[in-house]
Amino acid sequence: MIVFRHRKTGEAGYLSHIDAMRVLQRTMRRMRAEVKYSEGFVPHMLTYATTPLPLGVQSVAEYFAADSPLTGEEELLKRFNACVPSGMRADFCAVVGKNPNLVARVVASSYEVRAKETVSQDVLSVLEGREYFMLRNKKGVIEEVEVRDKIFGIEIYGDRLLLTLATGNDNLRVDSFVQSLSRFGVDACASDVTRTEQFVSEGGKFVAAKEILV
């Protein structure tokens, strides 16, 4: 099993999850990764990704695993980058014994938001409160939801906002959250957001997904 940490930036940030998966599967074919196929009536390539990003959100920390017998991280990384569109190049590769099942294990992600102007310190009040309500669009129905438990961290550095939010089964959509911060005067949209890392929980602590693959 080979796992890559790749980016999804520039044009690739606007690719839907399903399109991005197809791009990566074709990358596997181009790099001749010998990925195994399922043995069903319609065989499909055995590849695994992490939680989808909202359209427009950029990332430098997407994980993609493929059931391939190949080894040699350095060479695989080189081959991957030669065969993938430039907006999805990888900076890390690991060869692991079995599927790390990151989609189930990732519990949080960190994001960097580039706002148009200096971010007000008032945003930190979100962490002080016991509740935080925001609007959510669920299949066309707008509803108010309480998400305080899904907000793990907020830091402000001028016009940069660093967020750590729940990811995975109990996901908090970063684009909706950033939009909700407009009540504090934060002016940013989905394409101003970059996912910087994904974390798994180990002994009650957040550990970068990359660390558990080494």
């Binding site: 074709r26 990358t27 181009r30």
Partner: protein, 583 residues
């Protein structure tokens, strides 16, 4: 160039933003030093245009030329157009987000008459005047090419030049001449005067006649194997091999058959090499074969065997297009493990099939179906046309009889438990450069009546009937045999809001009829019969196939006499004088 910050915001508001971004794998170097920039436009959405093999060939051909950069532009969907207008952004190319004004040449590929308003839509969004006469030196040269150049009369006023025939020849020489003229400081008018002398280039402001340009040796002609692999889903999302151009069958309603002549093949060895390279360079999981009649490829069995071997090794699915009934090879079919079979008898009775020269006999249909059903086919798709010249009620009944035959044969020989039959009918449209180019199209009421008859009669279990929109067929017919008066109609239709006319949900018949009326033209002038001695709007094009041959074929049609496939024995259509016919 477009402001990236504004674009970022816009893209979040529109459906499928990946359509407007480029960034695909195998993107050529568009930052290389160049002295000529060309933008190839396709007058439909990204997913349709990116599936076009002609655009693919020409895009890579130009980018593989030293000193030339070629970019792409597709018709943005209506939501994107609204955002562009709202934000005062002009239509831009995918690669470097340049406006039309930043290019030397903007070329439109037009494959369908109902795309004409989309050309104006794109020009409008790009901020260029529609009519060539209104465009000055500051505007790029705007040219058109593609299958609609069989009769470009309705759109001639919009273009500085039209490229008739195959772009490997005329687009290449047009671009080369322009580079030369640019170096010499030659202005637009003089350049166009010189361009009018090139093969396959017609300059409306110069006039005269034009001979269609063709590639003489297809086997050694440029064919890209390091092609763009779109990141989002497109209509034909697969690698494609082009087996041959032209068609030997001579079905009398078929424009493509005559337009793409002479018949030229690629060698099996060349195709196998190209297939190998395509599989490696693209990562596509499917490979298909393209030609007008794949069954007629002289080395089909050997090619399919070779491709099958390569495909199995690389886990690639080999997709075969519809095969002609008379040369259907069950063995090939079985090997490709297909579950559906597509047949196009086009007419319900042998009499009408003889009229249209669809050289398929009753026995051929029966034996082919038997073989297919015995190999476990579960889905049969049948394509027919209604409104063909001399059609009678008996011919319509014949369509129903063929469906019954499939059901009966399935009961007798079928291996699969059930059989799904899909019947589709298109309305006959008399097209230029066919033996039926003088024929009338049936009135719209008659189209409805025939479709209603089939809807009634084909109400059978596991039979699905679909039909082509009658109204769209009328407008398509009117534009197909249109003349220069129609440029005003197209402008008016666009002004009325007609755009994406080839998309059913967007097509507005009433607006087109209003546009014709506004210009004082009755569409029936173009959909009715044309006397054979009348000059035709496309007579200025030397297409290879002669009018004399088409008239002879027309006479034979009315006499119910067929003309055999021309492989092995030339029927003398005239196309071979353009060079290269292998028969």
């Amino acid at each position: 160039m477009v402001d990236g910050e504004i674009l970022k915001k816009i893209l979040l508001q529109v459906e499928k933003p990946a359509r407007y971004l480029g960034g695909e794998f195998n993107l050529p170097d568009t930052d290389k030093p160049c002295d000529e920039r060309v933008c190839l436009c396709f007058a439909d959405k990204y997913e349709v245009g990116m599936s076009n093999i002609g655009l693919r060939i020409l895009y890579h051909m130009l980018n593989d030329t030293d000193g030339v950069v070629c970019e792409r532009c597709f018709a943005p969907s209506v939501d994107m157009a609204q955002e562009l207008r709202k934000n005062d952004i002009r239509l831009f190319s995918l690669e470097t987000r340049r406006e039309f004004f930043d290019f030397d040449i903007v070329g439109f590929s037009i494959g369908f008459e109902l795309a004409y308003t989309n050309v104006l839509y794109m020009m409008d969004l790009a901020g260029v005047p529609f009519r060539a006469a209104d465009r000055g030196e500051d505007c790029p040269l705007i040219v058109a090419g593609g299958p609609c150049m069989v009769n470009p009369a309705p759109i001639l006023d919009f273009f500085d030049a039209v490229l008739v025939g195959e772009g490997e020849v005329n687009l290449a020489s047009f671009v080369a001449l322009h580079r030369e003229c640019k170096k010499q400081g030659v202005g637009k008018a003089e350049f166009l005067r010189r361009a009018a002398l090139l093969k396959g280039v017609y300059v409306p402001s110069v006039g005269g006649k034009v001979t269609r340009a063709v590639v003489k040796d297809l086997d050694s002609a440029y064919f890209p194997t390091k092609i763009l692999v779109p990141s989002c889903d497109i209509v034909h999302d697969r690698s494609t091999l082009e087996l041959f151009r032209g068609c030997a069958n001579g079905c009398r309603f078929c424009q493509a058959c005559f337009y793409y002549r002479p018949i030229r093949e690629r060698k099996k060895e060349t195709l196998l090499k190209q297939a190998k390279e395509l599989i490696i360079n693209t990562g596509y999981e499917e490979l298909s074969l393209s030609s007008l009649s794949t069954s007629d490829y002289s080395q089909l069995k050997g090619l399919v065997d070779g491709l099958k071997e390569e495909a199995e090794k690389e886990n690639v699915k080999l997709a075969l297009p519809s095969l002609r009934l008379d040369s259907f090879e069950a063995e090939i079919y079985e090997d490709t493990k297909g579950a559906s079979l597509t047949f196009a008898p086009e007419a319900g009775t042998q009499r009408l099939r003889d009229v249209i020269n669809k050289n398929v006999g009753e026995k051929d249909i029966e034996s082919s179906l038997k073989a297919a059903l015995a190999h476990g086919v579960k889905n049969v798709k049948l394509y027919f046309m209604i409104g063909l010249p001399t059609e009678t009620e008996e011919d319509l009944k014949g369509i129903v009889d063929i469906v019954r035959l499939v059901r009966r044969l399935h009961a007798e020989y079928g291996k699969s438990r059930i059989i799904n039959i899909t019947v589709s009918t298109a309305v006959f449209i008399p097209k230029p450069l066919t033996p039926f180019q003088w024929e009338a199209q049936i009135p719209i009421e008659e189209m409805y009546a025939k479709q209603d008859y089939l809807k009634r009669e084909l109400k059978m279990k596991n039979v699905k009937y679909s039909w082509h929109d009658a109204k769209a067929s009328v407008i398509e017919a009117a534009l197909a045999r249109g003349d220069r008066r129609q440029s005003a109609v197209i402008e008016r239709a666009y002004a009325e809001g007609c755009v994406f006319d080839s998309w059913n949900e967007c097509f507005d018949y009433d607006k087109w009829i209003e546009a014709f009326a506004y210009c004082g033209i009755n569409p029936s002038e173009y959909t009715g019969a044309i006397p054979i001695d009348r000059d035709l709007a496309w007579d200025f094009i030397e297409n290879g196939v002669t009018k004399k041959y088409l008239l002879k074929e027309r006479e034979k049609a009315y006499a119910g006499i067929t003309t055999p496939n021309c492989i092995g024995k030339c029927n003398g259509c005239g196309a071979s004088k353009l060079g290269g016919c292998f028969v």
